[in-house]
Protein backbone atom coordinates (compact mmCIF):
# COMPACT_ATOMS: atom_id res chain seq x y z
CA UNK A 1 0.00 0.00 0.00
CA UNK A 2 1.31 3.47 -0.79
CA UNK A 3 0.19 6.84 0.58
CA UNK A 4 -0.93 9.50 -1.88
CA UNK A 5 0.69 12.92 -2.10
CA UNK A 6 -2.40 14.73 -0.71
CA UNK A 7 -2.28 12.78 2.52
CA UNK A 8 1.46 13.40 2.92
CA UNK A 9 1.02 17.14 2.43
CA UNK A 10 -1.81 17.15 4.97
CA UNK A 11 0.35 15.32 7.51
CA UNK A 12 3.23 17.75 6.95
CA UNK A 13 0.95 20.74 7.63
CA UNK A 14 -0.79 19.28 10.68
CA UNK A 15 -0.49 22.16 13.21
CA UNK A 16 -0.04 19.99 16.32
CA UNK A 17 2.79 17.93 14.92
CA UNK A 18 6.48 18.92 15.00
CA UNK A 19 8.13 19.51 11.61
CA UNK A 20 8.18 16.18 9.90
CA UNK A 21 10.23 15.13 6.91
CA UNK A 22 8.14 12.12 5.90
CA UNK A 23 9.99 11.81 2.62
CA UNK A 24 10.26 8.06 3.29
CA UNK A 25 6.49 7.93 2.89
CA UNK A 26 6.72 9.07 -0.71
CA UNK A 27 5.13 6.63 -3.05
CA UNK A 28 7.79 4.53 -4.65
CA UNK A 29 8.09 3.74 -8.29
CA UNK A 30 7.57 0.14 -7.35
CA UNK A 31 4.11 -1.31 -7.20
CA UNK A 32 2.75 -3.01 -4.10
CA UNK A 33 2.98 -6.74 -3.74
CA UNK A 34 0.43 -9.47 -3.18
CA UNK A 35 1.81 -12.59 -1.61
CA UNK A 36 0.17 -15.92 -1.03
CA UNK A 37 1.10 -18.35 1.72
CA UNK A 38 1.77 -21.74 0.17
CA UNK A 39 1.70 -25.32 1.40
CA UNK A 40 5.17 -24.91 2.88
CA UNK A 41 4.22 -21.70 4.67
CA UNK A 42 5.47 -18.31 3.50
CA UNK A 43 8.73 -19.19 1.80
CA UNK A 44 11.24 -16.90 0.10
CA UNK A 45 10.05 -18.07 -3.29
CA UNK A 46 6.60 -16.75 -2.43
CA UNK A 47 7.90 -13.24 -1.69
CA UNK A 48 10.53 -13.19 -4.44
CA UNK A 49 8.02 -11.86 -6.96
CA UNK A 50 7.76 -8.73 -9.06
CA UNK A 51 10.61 -6.31 -8.50
CA UNK A 52 11.50 -8.11 -5.28
CA UNK A 53 12.39 -11.17 -7.26
CA UNK A 54 14.58 -9.36 -9.77
CA UNK A 55 18.14 -10.33 -8.93
CA UNK A 56 20.64 -7.95 -10.57
CA UNK A 57 23.49 -9.50 -12.55
CA UNK A 58 25.72 -6.88 -10.98
CA UNK A 59 25.57 -5.70 -7.36
CA UNK A 60 26.51 -2.04 -7.74
CA UNK A 61 26.57 -0.65 -4.23
CA UNK A 62 28.58 -1.40 -1.14
CA UNK A 63 25.91 -0.51 1.39
CA UNK A 64 23.42 -2.47 3.43
CA UNK A 65 20.55 -1.46 1.13
CA UNK A 66 18.34 -4.46 0.75
CA UNK A 67 17.01 -5.49 -2.62
CA UNK A 68 13.71 -3.79 -3.45
CA UNK A 69 14.08 -0.91 -0.98
CA UNK A 70 14.36 2.75 -2.06
CA UNK A 71 17.92 4.10 -2.27
CA UNK A 72 18.94 7.01 -0.03
CA UNK A 73 21.90 9.28 -0.67
CA UNK A 74 24.75 9.80 1.78
CA UNK A 75 24.74 6.24 3.06
CA UNK A 76 28.09 4.87 4.21
CA UNK A 77 29.61 1.84 2.56
CA UNK A 78 30.00 -1.28 4.62
CA UNK A 79 31.83 -3.73 2.41
CA UNK A 80 33.30 -4.69 -0.94
CA UNK A 81 30.89 -7.30 -2.19
CA UNK A 82 31.46 -9.79 -4.98
CA UNK A 83 29.66 -7.84 -7.71
CA UNK A 84 28.97 -10.51 -10.36
CA UNK A 85 25.90 -12.63 -9.76
CA UNK A 86 27.39 -15.49 -11.75
CA UNK A 87 30.36 -15.62 -9.34
CA UNK A 88 28.23 -16.64 -6.37
CA UNK A 89 24.73 -17.62 -7.51
CA UNK A 90 22.86 -20.92 -7.48
CA UNK A 91 19.24 -21.16 -8.61
CA UNK A 92 18.38 -23.51 -5.74
CA UNK A 93 19.70 -21.25 -2.96
CA UNK A 94 16.26 -20.31 -1.60
CA UNK A 95 14.94 -23.86 -1.82
CA UNK A 96 17.97 -25.27 -0.03
CA UNK A 97 17.88 -22.55 2.62
CA UNK A 98 14.18 -23.08 3.40
CA UNK A 99 14.72 -26.82 3.45
CA UNK A 100 17.66 -26.41 5.82
CA UNK A 101 15.52 -24.37 8.20
CA UNK A 102 12.72 -26.93 8.04
CA UNK A 103 14.98 -29.94 8.46
CA UNK A 104 17.13 -28.77 11.37
CA UNK A 105 17.62 -31.27 14.16
CA UNK A 106 19.14 -31.27 17.58
CA UNK A 107 22.11 -33.40 18.54
CA UNK A 108 20.92 -33.19 22.13
CA UNK A 109 17.40 -34.54 21.68
CA UNK A 110 16.95 -36.10 18.23
CA UNK A 111 19.61 -38.80 18.63
CA UNK A 112 18.57 -41.86 20.66
CA UNK A 113 21.76 -41.71 22.76
CA UNK A 114 20.43 -44.38 25.11
CA UNK A 115 21.02 -46.98 22.37
CA UNK A 116 24.81 -46.48 22.60
CA UNK A 117 25.99 -49.48 24.58
CA UNK A 118 29.50 -50.81 25.38
CA UNK A 119 31.29 -52.03 22.24
CA UNK A 120 34.43 -54.14 21.73
CA UNK A 121 37.46 -51.88 22.37
CA UNK A 122 38.76 -51.94 18.80
CA UNK A 123 35.41 -50.98 17.31
CA UNK A 124 34.78 -48.24 19.88
CA UNK A 125 38.26 -46.79 19.33
CA UNK A 126 37.88 -46.90 15.57
CA UNK A 127 34.55 -45.06 15.79
CA UNK A 128 36.13 -42.48 18.10
CA UNK A 129 39.03 -41.98 15.66
CA UNK A 130 36.54 -41.37 12.84
CA UNK A 131 34.64 -38.94 15.08
CA UNK A 132 37.87 -37.12 15.99
CA UNK A 133 38.67 -36.68 12.32
CA UNK A 134 35.14 -35.56 11.47
CA UNK A 135 34.99 -33.07 14.35
CA UNK A 136 38.11 -31.41 12.91
CA UNK A 137 36.80 -31.51 9.35
CA UNK A 138 33.48 -29.95 10.34
CA UNK A 139 35.36 -26.96 11.77
CA UNK A 140 36.76 -26.26 8.32
CA UNK A 141 33.42 -26.94 6.67
CA UNK A 142 31.95 -24.14 8.78
CA UNK A 143 34.89 -21.75 8.50
CA UNK A 144 35.13 -21.92 4.70
CA UNK A 145 31.62 -20.63 3.86
CA UNK A 146 31.81 -18.31 6.87
CA UNK A 147 34.79 -16.52 5.28
CA UNK A 148 32.64 -15.56 2.30
CA UNK A 149 29.58 -14.28 4.15
CA UNK A 150 30.71 -10.69 4.37
CA UNK A 151 31.31 -10.56 0.64
CA UNK A 152 27.78 -11.43 -0.40
CA UNK A 153 25.79 -8.36 -1.42
CA UNK A 154 22.30 -7.75 0.00
CA UNK A 155 21.23 -7.84 -3.66
CA UNK A 156 22.17 -11.53 -3.63
CA UNK A 157 20.91 -12.19 -0.11
CA UNK A 158 19.65 -15.67 -0.93
CA UNK A 159 23.24 -16.92 -1.15
CA UNK A 160 24.11 -15.35 2.20
CA UNK A 161 21.15 -17.10 3.83
CA UNK A 162 22.21 -20.41 2.35
CA UNK A 163 25.78 -19.95 3.63
CA UNK A 164 24.53 -19.16 7.13
CA UNK A 165 22.41 -22.31 7.08
CA UNK A 166 25.46 -24.31 6.10
CA UNK A 167 27.52 -22.84 8.95
CA UNK A 168 24.72 -23.89 11.33
CA UNK A 169 24.64 -27.40 9.84
CA UNK A 170 28.40 -27.75 10.24
CA UNK A 171 28.24 -26.52 13.83
CA UNK A 172 25.78 -29.30 14.57
CA UNK A 173 27.97 -31.89 12.82
CA UNK A 174 30.95 -30.73 14.82
CA UNK A 175 29.04 -31.09 18.05
CA UNK A 176 27.35 -34.40 17.28
CA UNK A 177 30.63 -36.16 16.39
CA UNK A 178 32.30 -34.73 19.46
CA UNK A 179 29.40 -36.00 21.57
CA UNK A 180 29.61 -39.46 20.03
CA UNK A 181 33.34 -39.64 20.74
CA UNK A 182 32.74 -38.74 24.37
CA UNK A 183 29.46 -40.50 25.14
CA UNK A 184 30.76 -44.04 25.48
CA UNK A 185 33.85 -43.54 27.63
CA UNK A 186 36.59 -43.64 24.97
CA UNK A 187 36.89 -39.96 24.05
CA UNK A 188 38.72 -38.14 21.27
CA UNK A 189 41.77 -39.86 19.79
CA UNK A 190 44.52 -38.64 17.45
CA UNK A 191 44.12 -35.21 15.86
CA UNK A 192 44.81 -35.31 12.14
CA UNK A 193 45.39 -31.59 11.61
CA UNK A 194 44.05 -29.61 8.67
CA UNK A 195 45.39 -31.61 5.79
CA UNK A 196 46.64 -30.10 2.54
CA UNK A 197 43.37 -30.59 0.67
CA UNK A 198 41.37 -28.96 3.44
CA UNK A 199 43.82 -26.09 3.79
CA UNK A 200 43.47 -25.58 0.05
CA UNK A 201 39.72 -24.95 0.53
CA UNK A 202 40.35 -22.31 3.18
CA UNK A 203 42.93 -20.65 0.91
CA UNK A 204 40.56 -20.33 -2.07
CA UNK A 205 40.65 -16.78 -3.44
CA UNK A 206 37.51 -17.15 -5.49
CA UNK A 207 33.99 -18.20 -4.44
CA UNK A 208 33.55 -20.67 -7.28
CA UNK A 209 36.93 -22.18 -6.48
CA UNK A 210 35.89 -22.58 -2.84
CA UNK A 211 32.51 -24.01 -3.80
CA UNK A 212 33.86 -26.51 -6.35
CA UNK A 213 36.52 -27.69 -3.91
CA UNK A 214 34.33 -27.82 -0.86
CA UNK A 215 30.73 -28.41 -1.94
CA UNK A 216 31.31 -30.61 -4.96
CA UNK A 217 34.56 -32.44 -4.21
CA UNK A 218 35.07 -32.59 -0.44
CA UNK A 219 31.47 -32.60 0.74
CA UNK A 220 30.49 -34.94 -2.07
CA UNK A 221 33.05 -37.40 -0.71
CA UNK A 222 31.87 -36.80 2.84
CA UNK A 223 28.21 -37.28 1.89
CA UNK A 224 28.98 -40.67 0.36
CA UNK A 225 30.96 -41.56 3.48
CA UNK A 226 28.11 -40.56 5.81
CA UNK A 227 25.76 -42.87 3.93
CA UNK A 228 28.28 -45.61 4.47
CA UNK A 229 28.58 -44.47 8.07
CA UNK A 230 25.10 -45.77 8.58
CA UNK A 231 26.40 -49.13 7.48
CA UNK A 232 29.26 -49.02 10.01
CA UNK A 233 26.94 -47.82 12.77
CA UNK A 234 26.64 -50.18 15.70
CA UNK A 235 23.41 -48.81 17.14
CA UNK A 236 20.36 -46.67 16.38
CA UNK A 237 22.09 -43.52 17.65
CA UNK A 238 24.94 -43.79 15.16
CA UNK A 239 22.58 -44.73 12.33
CA UNK A 240 20.53 -41.62 13.07
CA UNK A 241 23.63 -39.39 13.30
CA UNK A 242 24.96 -40.47 9.94
CA UNK A 243 21.56 -40.38 8.27
CA UNK A 244 20.80 -36.85 9.48
CA UNK A 245 24.30 -35.61 8.63
CA UNK A 246 24.04 -37.16 5.16
CA UNK A 247 20.81 -35.19 4.59
CA UNK A 248 22.56 -31.95 5.54
CA UNK A 249 25.60 -32.70 3.38
CA UNK A 250 23.32 -33.42 0.42
CA UNK A 251 22.04 -29.85 0.63
CA UNK A 252 25.59 -28.50 0.62
CA UNK A 253 26.51 -30.66 -2.36
CA UNK A 254 23.25 -29.63 -4.07
CA UNK A 255 24.10 -25.94 -3.74
CA UNK A 256 27.62 -26.51 -5.08
CA UNK A 257 26.47 -28.48 -8.12
CA UNK A 258 23.90 -25.84 -9.03
CA UNK A 259 26.40 -23.02 -8.51
CA UNK A 260 28.89 -24.70 -10.80
CA UNK A 261 26.17 -25.22 -13.39
CA UNK A 262 25.21 -21.54 -13.16
CA UNK A 263 28.82 -20.42 -13.62
CA UNK A 264 29.38 -22.66 -16.62
CA UNK A 265 26.15 -21.45 -18.24
CA UNK A 266 26.69 -17.74 -17.56
CA UNK A 267 30.48 -17.44 -17.67
CA UNK A 268 31.59 -20.26 -20.01
CA UNK A 269 35.01 -18.62 -20.35
CA UNK A 270 35.75 -19.84 -16.79
CA UNK A 271 35.70 -23.53 -17.77
CA UNK A 272 39.45 -24.02 -18.02
CA UNK A 273 40.04 -21.97 -14.91
CA UNK A 274 37.72 -24.29 -12.96
CA UNK A 275 39.55 -27.34 -14.30
CA UNK A 276 42.75 -25.80 -13.01
CA UNK A 277 41.29 -25.52 -9.47
CA UNK A 278 40.10 -29.12 -9.62
CA UNK A 279 43.45 -30.38 -11.00
CA UNK A 280 45.16 -29.02 -7.94
CA UNK A 281 42.45 -30.01 -5.46
CA UNK A 282 42.20 -33.60 -6.68
CA UNK A 283 45.95 -33.94 -6.48
CA UNK A 284 46.00 -32.68 -2.89
CA UNK A 285 42.83 -34.49 -1.90
CA UNK A 286 44.12 -37.78 -3.17
CA UNK A 287 47.52 -37.31 -1.56
CA UNK A 288 48.46 -40.11 0.84
CA UNK A 289 48.83 -37.68 3.74
CA UNK A 290 45.56 -35.97 3.06
CA UNK A 291 41.97 -36.01 4.36
CA UNK A 292 40.79 -38.47 1.76
CA UNK A 293 43.52 -40.87 2.66
CA UNK A 294 44.85 -40.27 6.18
CA UNK A 295 46.06 -43.58 7.43
CA UNK A 296 44.33 -43.26 10.81
CA UNK A 297 41.00 -42.58 9.13
CA UNK A 298 41.43 -45.35 6.57
CA UNK A 299 42.38 -47.88 9.21
CA UNK A 300 39.53 -46.85 11.48
CA UNK A 301 37.08 -47.15 8.58
CA UNK A 302 38.38 -50.61 7.74
CA UNK A 303 37.92 -51.75 11.33
CA UNK A 304 34.40 -50.38 11.75
CA UNK A 305 33.24 -51.51 8.32
CA UNK A 306 34.68 -54.95 8.79
CA UNK A 307 33.25 -55.25 12.30
CA UNK A 308 36.55 -55.40 14.21
CA UNK A 309 40.29 -55.81 13.71
CA UNK A 310 39.85 -59.50 13.04
CA UNK A 311 37.79 -58.73 9.94
CA UNK A 312 39.94 -55.96 8.52
CA UNK A 313 40.13 -57.70 5.13
CA UNK A 314 36.39 -57.40 4.72
CA UNK A 315 36.65 -53.81 5.95
CA UNK A 316 39.34 -53.01 3.37
CA UNK A 317 37.11 -54.38 0.61
CA UNK A 318 34.21 -52.19 1.76
CA UNK A 319 36.45 -49.14 2.18
CA UNK A 320 37.60 -49.63 -1.41
CA UNK A 321 33.97 -49.88 -2.54
CA UNK A 322 33.35 -46.61 -0.72
CA UNK A 323 36.21 -44.83 -2.52
CA UNK A 324 34.94 -46.16 -5.85
CA UNK A 325 31.45 -44.89 -5.10
CA UNK A 326 32.85 -41.53 -4.02
CA UNK A 327 34.77 -41.13 -7.28
CA UNK A 328 31.79 -42.13 -9.45
CA UNK A 329 29.31 -39.91 -7.66
CA UNK A 330 31.77 -37.00 -7.90
CA UNK A 331 31.96 -37.57 -11.65
CA UNK A 332 28.16 -37.79 -12.00
CA UNK A 333 27.75 -34.49 -10.18
CA UNK A 334 30.29 -32.83 -12.45
CA UNK A 335 28.29 -34.13 -15.41
CA UNK A 336 25.11 -32.59 -13.99
CA UNK A 337 26.98 -29.31 -13.54
CA UNK A 338 28.10 -29.44 -17.19
CA UNK A 339 31.73 -30.45 -16.69
CA UNK A 340 31.52 -33.94 -18.13
CA UNK A 341 34.92 -33.73 -19.84
CA UNK A 342 36.49 -33.81 -16.37
CA UNK A 343 36.40 -37.59 -16.75
CA UNK A 344 39.36 -37.38 -19.14
CA UNK A 345 41.62 -35.31 -16.93
CA UNK A 346 40.70 -36.47 -13.45
CA UNK A 347 43.53 -37.40 -11.09
CA UNK A 348 44.17 -41.11 -11.83
CA UNK A 349 43.81 -41.81 -8.09
CA UNK A 350 40.08 -41.31 -8.74
CA UNK A 351 39.88 -41.48 -12.52
CA UNK A 352 40.91 -45.14 -12.60
CA UNK A 353 37.98 -45.98 -10.33
CA UNK A 354 35.38 -44.55 -12.71
CA UNK A 355 32.83 -46.80 -14.37
CA UNK A 356 32.65 -46.36 -18.15
CA UNK A 357 30.39 -43.50 -19.25
CA UNK A 358 26.75 -44.53 -19.70
CA UNK A 359 26.43 -43.24 -23.25
Amino acid sequence: MTIDQKTIEKLRKEPDLPDLDLSWLNPKDTPGITVKVGKRGLTLDEINIGVYGEVPDLAQHGTTRVRGSTPRSGVVRTAYFVPEKSDIWADNATLIYEEAVQRQWSSATDIPWETVQPLPDDVEEAICQICTFLTEVEFIAGDAPGQWLKQISPDHYEVALYLVSQVMDEARHLDVFRKRALVNGCGLLEAQGATRGLRNILDAKDFTEMSALMHVLAEGFVQTMFRTGEFIAQNEAEKTIFRLCAQDESRHVGFGVMHLRYVLEHAPERREEIHHYLDRAEQLFGHPTDGGGTSALQEALMITMGGGKAHIDKGAELAMALTKKQANEYMHRLEVAGLGERRYRMNPAFGLLLDPPKN
Binding site: K39, F242, Q247, V336
Partner: protein, 146 residues
Protein backbone atom coordinates in the same frame (compact mmCIF):
# COMPACT_ATOMS: atom_id res chain seq x y z
CA UNK B 1 -4.00 -56.73 6.02
CA UNK B 2 -2.54 -55.47 2.75
CA UNK B 3 -0.55 -57.19 0.04
CA UNK B 4 2.93 -55.98 -0.92
CA UNK B 5 3.32 -54.65 -3.55
CA UNK B 6 0.01 -52.91 -4.24
CA UNK B 7 -1.53 -49.44 -4.23
CA UNK B 8 -3.56 -50.53 -1.17
CA UNK B 9 -0.36 -51.45 0.72
CA UNK B 10 1.26 -48.08 0.00
CA UNK B 11 -1.97 -46.26 0.92
CA UNK B 12 -2.00 -48.05 4.28
CA UNK B 13 1.62 -47.05 4.90
CA UNK B 14 0.88 -43.45 3.84
CA UNK B 15 -1.95 -43.26 6.38
CA UNK B 16 0.34 -44.42 9.20
CA UNK B 17 3.25 -42.22 8.06
CA UNK B 18 1.10 -39.08 7.88
CA UNK B 19 -0.63 -39.56 11.23
CA UNK B 20 0.87 -38.20 14.46
CA UNK B 21 3.04 -35.78 12.47
CA UNK B 22 6.08 -38.06 12.23
CA UNK B 23 6.92 -36.92 8.71
CA UNK B 24 6.01 -33.29 9.42
CA UNK B 25 8.46 -33.26 12.33
CA UNK B 26 11.29 -34.04 9.89
CA UNK B 27 10.53 -30.97 7.78
CA UNK B 28 9.48 -30.40 4.21
CA UNK B 29 10.04 -33.05 1.58
CA UNK B 30 9.33 -32.47 -2.09
CA UNK B 31 10.07 -35.51 -4.16
CA UNK B 32 8.48 -38.09 -6.40
CA UNK B 33 9.76 -41.53 -5.47
CA UNK B 34 9.36 -44.55 -7.71
CA UNK B 35 9.26 -48.13 -6.46
CA UNK B 36 9.86 -51.06 -8.78
CA UNK B 37 9.12 -54.62 -7.76
CA UNK B 38 9.52 -57.10 -10.60
CA UNK B 39 7.11 -55.89 -13.30
CA UNK B 40 5.15 -53.56 -11.09
CA UNK B 41 5.96 -49.89 -10.67
CA UNK B 42 4.54 -47.28 -8.31
CA UNK B 43 4.91 -43.53 -7.97
CA UNK B 44 4.74 -42.08 -4.44
CA UNK B 45 4.54 -38.32 -4.10
CA UNK B 46 5.82 -36.31 -1.15
CA UNK B 47 4.82 -32.66 -1.03
CA UNK B 48 5.56 -30.08 1.67
CA UNK B 49 5.08 -31.93 4.96
CA UNK B 50 3.15 -35.04 3.87
CA UNK B 51 3.09 -38.00 1.61
CA UNK B 52 0.15 -37.10 -0.61
CA UNK B 53 -0.47 -40.14 -2.75
CA UNK B 54 0.47 -43.25 -4.65
CA UNK B 55 -0.46 -44.63 -8.04
CA UNK B 56 0.58 -47.57 -10.13
CA UNK B 57 2.45 -46.56 -13.28
CA UNK B 58 3.91 -48.33 -16.29
CA UNK B 59 7.61 -49.13 -15.72
CA UNK B 60 8.64 -46.75 -18.52
CA UNK B 61 7.28 -43.84 -16.47
CA UNK B 62 9.80 -44.48 -13.69
CA UNK B 63 12.23 -42.29 -15.61
CA UNK B 64 9.96 -39.34 -14.80
CA UNK B 65 10.33 -39.76 -11.03
CA UNK B 66 13.15 -38.06 -9.12
CA UNK B 67 14.56 -41.52 -8.38
CA UNK B 68 13.21 -45.02 -8.06
CA UNK B 69 14.03 -47.87 -5.72
CA UNK B 70 14.54 -51.22 -7.33
CA UNK B 71 15.67 -54.52 -5.84
CA UNK B 72 14.68 -58.19 -6.06
CA UNK B 73 11.34 -59.13 -4.54
CA UNK B 74 13.05 -61.29 -1.89
CA UNK B 75 15.16 -58.32 -0.78
CA UNK B 76 12.07 -56.11 -0.47
CA UNK B 77 10.46 -58.85 1.61
CA UNK B 78 13.60 -59.24 3.76
CA UNK B 79 13.77 -55.50 4.42
CA UNK B 80 10.10 -55.12 5.28
CA UNK B 81 10.08 -58.23 7.49
CA UNK B 82 13.11 -56.92 9.38
CA UNK B 83 11.44 -53.52 9.85
CA UNK B 84 8.36 -55.33 11.23
CA UNK B 85 10.36 -57.61 13.53
CA UNK B 86 12.39 -54.71 14.91
CA UNK B 87 9.34 -52.51 15.50
CA UNK B 88 10.30 -49.89 12.93
CA UNK B 89 14.05 -49.66 13.55
CA UNK B 90 15.67 -51.99 11.02
CA UNK B 91 19.06 -53.64 11.54
CA UNK B 92 21.88 -51.82 9.81
CA UNK B 93 21.99 -54.11 6.80
CA UNK B 94 18.31 -53.37 6.12
CA UNK B 95 18.36 -49.56 6.10
CA UNK B 96 17.80 -47.77 2.79
CA UNK B 97 21.28 -46.22 2.81
CA UNK B 98 23.02 -49.53 3.48
CA UNK B 99 21.09 -51.39 0.82
CA UNK B 100 21.97 -48.57 -1.57
CA UNK B 101 25.66 -48.71 -0.64
CA UNK B 102 25.98 -52.47 -0.92
CA UNK B 103 24.26 -52.70 -4.29
CA UNK B 104 26.93 -52.03 -6.96
CA UNK B 105 24.22 -50.66 -9.24
CA UNK B 106 22.69 -48.63 -6.41
CA UNK B 107 19.24 -49.25 -4.92
CA UNK B 108 18.11 -45.70 -5.72
CA UNK B 109 18.25 -45.17 -9.47
CA UNK B 110 18.10 -42.08 -11.63
CA UNK B 111 19.87 -40.86 -14.73
CA UNK B 112 20.25 -37.47 -13.10
CA UNK B 113 22.55 -37.43 -10.07
CA UNK B 114 21.14 -34.09 -8.88
CA UNK B 115 17.58 -35.46 -8.86
CA UNK B 116 18.81 -38.65 -7.24
CA UNK B 117 20.31 -36.56 -4.46
CA UNK B 118 16.71 -36.05 -3.26
CA UNK B 119 16.97 -39.63 -1.98
CA UNK B 120 19.81 -38.49 0.27
CA UNK B 121 18.51 -34.99 1.10
CA UNK B 122 15.29 -36.49 2.49
CA UNK B 123 16.76 -39.82 3.53
CA UNK B 124 15.33 -39.80 7.02
CA UNK B 125 11.82 -39.08 5.66
CA UNK B 126 11.93 -42.07 3.30
CA UNK B 127 13.37 -44.30 6.02
CA UNK B 128 10.55 -43.25 8.37
CA UNK B 129 8.07 -43.88 5.57
CA UNK B 130 9.15 -47.50 5.19
CA UNK B 131 9.54 -47.88 8.97
CA UNK B 132 5.84 -46.99 9.25
CA UNK B 133 5.09 -50.30 7.52
CA UNK B 134 5.86 -52.02 10.82
CA UNK B 135 2.45 -50.84 11.99
CA UNK B 136 0.43 -52.61 9.31
CA UNK B 137 -0.04 -56.30 8.59
CA UNK B 138 1.64 -57.25 5.32
CA UNK B 139 1.27 -60.31 3.16
CA UNK B 140 3.80 -60.79 0.39
CA UNK B 141 2.90 -61.86 -3.11
CA UNK B 142 5.46 -61.67 -5.89
CA UNK B 143 3.91 -60.01 -8.93
CA UNK B 144 3.63 -62.42 -11.82
CA UNK B 145 5.34 -61.51 -15.08
CA UNK B 146 2.90 -59.98 -17.54
Amino acid sequence: MATFPSVEWFEAVITVANEDGRLRKLGTCDAVMGVKVLDKAFEITFEAFDCIGVREIPSEKLAETDFYLEMPFETWQGMLENIKERGGTPDRQYTLNTIDFLDPEGFAKSDDQSKKDAFYRYGQTFQQFFNASSEIETVFAAPQPV
